[in-house]
Amino acid sequence: MHDLAAALAAAWELVVSGDPTLVGIISLSLGVSLTAVVLASALGLPLGAALAVLRFPGRNAGIVVVNALMGLPPVVAGLFVYVLLSRSGPLGNLGLLFTPGAMVIAQTVLVTPIVAAIARQVVEDLWREYGELYLVDGVGRVRTVCSLLWLGRFGLLTAVLAGLGRAVAEVGAILIVGGNIAGITRTMTTAIALETSRGDLALALGLGAILLTLVLAVNAAAHFAGGTARRAAT
């Protein structure tokens, strides 16, 4: 119990002092994860909808692969991106390794399958319900996909939030491609890992409490924004 009290005290102290390092770490964490989620949504939502609506050879294999990649271990995703971006790798001359850009790429790789898999389920349910109408009206496929995505936007919010949850919580991938460099690539989760390894458990737990609060705030905002929009739509 003493440890938890010390953790909350450490968190409180960090927050009220407005520690500039903490502010930098938090904004980097949110910046990297939100950018990754936007990119992953731009890729994953159309991909999921296409898998739900279109019929093409290899579609079932595609669905299985996307579902399986939801379980992609972050360390593996990180290692994959590391090998790509390393100076000795194919994209080495971009010089992106150990920068926030590399962390965005790694998290996009992690989050896209989650967004795509949930989006496919949401859109497939809608397709089953309204598909015939689109077929009777002779609506083109691209328009069908876009229209179904818009129709399912409230359900798809869950897909995006699940992706965001994965992105802000993971440490394995960004530790490898970011290098946990102080002031450059140190995020909330890598800072927590670092403080744990320095044996400062109170500070580590305190940072964890702040991270949880932030995630809670983002989810609450999305929930209420979604609720307001839904009421406006009906």
Binding site: G179, N180, G199
Partner: protein, 277 residues
């Protein structure tokens, strides 16, 4: 459809904005170094002084010595600053690094539970202590991560004539993790472990652990710095990297290293020679 196009354009703009903001970078070098230098707080003390005189920002990726050398080998950093003389010499020998200099040393300490279940009763002889731990089958927590500390520990077991992994009995526990996590594990299971003094002094979760054996000449721990070979990796910032190395071994850099203390205790002792080693 128009909405989709608008969304796409907005996405592209956002991507472009984020890409350019990440691309705008000041003058910096990337240094692959060890957890012992980072977690002991040495870099937080040292780097601001260097950046102030030269205007060069130093970005430290802190990993085990083995991984740091690997990062250098792949050309993903400009300078390597580690502590495993044999591996460093091999690194230079294979042409991955040039301009190796010895910078400073500290020492390893054997830490263990205050109850001292293997009855080492202090003393200086690290090899005798390891033999006693093995015969008592007292828990020993090993790094096992190809770090400088791990390699030093393995060398000491060899000197004691014991193969702890083959010994059986489950008392030798390989964590495959950094110094801090290994110390956390040792604290939790009342085990012995070998730590560099810097990490030990700055470690905060000591619980029942204390130093059991120290001061043996065989516990000496030398740190070396070298430039990643620009002939192998042309993008290496040769000039900036050399400035960093030259500063570390200059009287000013050496003084800054000696000045770093925790509770009045020095963590690292500068020992750079003016000639290249």
């Amino acid at each position: 459809m128009r909405r989709a196009v608008r969304g796409f354009v907005a996405g592209c703009l956002l991507l472009w904005a984020s890409a350019t903001s990440f691309a705008a970078q000041p003058v910096f070098i990337t240094v692959a170094s060890t957890t012992s230098t980072e977690q002991s707080g040495l870099f937080r003390h040292l780097l601001p002084a260097f950046s102030k005189t030269t205007g060069i920002e130093v970005r430290v990726v802190a990993v085990g010595t083995g991984q740091a050398l690997k990062i250098g080998e792949r050309g993903d950093c400009d300078v390597v600053f580690v502590h495993d003389t044999q591996a460093e010499l091999a690194f230079v020998e294979q042409g991955f690094g040039i301009d190796r200099h010895e910078v400073m040393y500290n020492d390893f300490v054997l830490v263990g539970p205050a109850s001292d279940p293997a009855h080492l009763d202090g003393g200086k002889d690290i090899v005798a202590a390891l033999r006693k731990i093995a015969s008592a089958k007292a828990p020993f927590v090993a790094r096992g991560d190809d770090s400088g500390t791990s390699k030093a520990e393995i060398r000491l077991w060899k000197e004691a004539g014991i193969d702890p992994k083959a010994a059986g009995g489950g008392w030798y526990r390989d964590t495959g993790s950094g110094m801090g996590p290994t110390l956390n594990t040792a604290a939790a299971m009342d085990g012995y472990t070998l730590s560099d003094r810097g990490t030990w002094l700055s470690f905060k979760n000591k619980q029942n652990l204390k130093i059991i054996v120290e001061g043996d000449r065989r516990l000496f721990n030398q740190y070396g710095v070298m430039l990643v070979n620009p002939a192998k990796h042309p993008h290496v910032k040769e000039d900036l990297g050399r400035q960093f190395i030259d500063w570390l071994i200059s009287p000013e850099g050496q003084r800054a290293i000696a000045d770093y203390r925790i509770n009045g205790e020095s963590l690292f002792f500068p020992d750079a020679k003016s000639s290249q080693s």
